[in-house]
């Protein structure tokens, strides 16, 4: 790998480095409004499914499109591009009775983190 030059870096800053990818034509597994549950795994190493949101039930609010999957990409296991969804969790689903009933947390979650309850 060559030296990172100012010219190259200026290009990266200006053009950005999007992880959005073209799909292979497959349909999204989940629709907006659908109830989903996050998987409950506790991997060592890189994950984009925070522990506080593992094994929780939420609602898909937005399909964000297809992105390289950071979980595998960070481990050198390939990009595995897939749909990513904004999923809304009620505060009480995450924090129990301590939560205000009008609180919600929204996370962007790749399809591999989601299943049908």
């Amino acid at each position: 790998m060559g030296e990172l030059t100012a010219e190259r870096l200026a290009q990266i800053i200006e053009a950005g480095h999007s992880h959005r990818r073209e799909g292979d034509g497959s349909e999204p597994r989940f629709d907006e409004g659908q109830t989903v549950r996050t998987i409950n795994h506790h991997p060592s190493g890189h994950t984009r499914l925070p522990r506080y949101a593992m094994g929780r039930t939420g609602t898909v609010v937005r399909n964000q499109g297809i992105f390289a999957f950071a979980h595998t990409n960070a481990r050198g296991e390939g990009e595995c591009p897939q749909y990513c969804y904004a999923v809304r969790f009620k505060g009480s689903e995450l924090w129990g009775n301590a939560a205000h009933e009008q609180d919600a947390v929204i996370l962007d979650l790749w399809e591999s983190y989601l299943e049908t309850p």
């Binding site: 030296e3 990172l4 030059t5 100012a6 190259r8 870096l9 200026a10 990266i12 800053i13 200006e14 053009a15 950005g16 480095h17 999007s18 992880h19 959005r20 984009r48 499914l49 925070p50 506080y52 949101a53 937005r62 964000q64 499109g65 992105f67 950071a70 990513c84 904004a86 809304r88 995450l94 924090w95 301590a98 939560a99 205000h100 009008q102 609180d103 919600a104 947390v105 929204i106 996370l107 962007d108 979650l109 790749w110």
Partner: protein, 196 residues
């Protein structure tokens, strides 16, 4: 030399940065000019003033606001702001019923082209841990009381989307020009820990 005074030793972080910079350049990994370019970019080119211009435009121009909420990155690029960590933006509109606030609980993701680098507290474990768990208490510590009937939505930037909050225009915005409105928009308002 008589009368010569030694300066205070440099801070640990300054020494660490110097050591890193020296290693990166001496080993031929990064050009010195590239480091200067990054420093210049974050010191002079990006910062919350950019985001404030986006907000002020949205307050003045309903068509622009509609484009911004529908597909934020191209709308933000209309004002000349784009690039790294702004590739896939979503803008969240505050309303009388909904207050939005952003965080990155896993690290410190932040929309650089519109807000620059995040403040230290945004990256701190207490903010990241508490804003998802007790957002109203944290917002109150910032001086923002949210009414009980208002929904608080905390957006945890856990993937590639970068978020920015579109605050509600305050009462004092009435009759002001777009340029004057820019001064009413704060960084904290676009993170969602202030009203605007």
């Amino acid at each position: 030399m008589s009368g010569h005074k030694h300066n205070e030793p440099e801070s640990d972080i300054a020494l660490r940065v110097k050591a890193m910079e020296q290693l990166l350049t001496e080993k031929g990994i990064v050009e010195t000019n590239a480091i200067d370019l990054v420093a210049d970019y974050f010191e002079n080119k990006v910062g919350p003033r950019n985001g404030a211009r986006v907000v002020a435009r949205a307050w003045c121009d309903a068509d622009y606001k509609a484009r911004l909420l529908a597909d934020a990155s191209p709308a933000i690029a209309e004002l000349g702001y784009s690039g790294l960590q702004g590739e896939d933006m979503v803008v969240l509109e505050n309303t009388p019923q909904v207050h939005n606030v952003i965080v990155c609980t896993l690290c410190s993701c932040y929309p650089w082209p519109v807000l620059g680098l995040p403040p230290t507290w945004y990256k701190s474990p207490p903010y990241r841990a508490r804003i998802v768990r007790e957002p109203r208490a944290v917002l109150a510590e910032f001086g923002l009381e949210v009414a009980d009937d208002v929904e608080v939505r905390v957006w945890d930037s856990s993937a590639e989307i970068r978020y920015m909050v579109l605050p509600m225009a305050p009462e004092e915005s009435a009759g002001k020009s777009e340029e004057e409105l820019v001064d009413l928009v704060s960084r904290d308002g676009m993170i969602g820990v202030a009203a605007h």
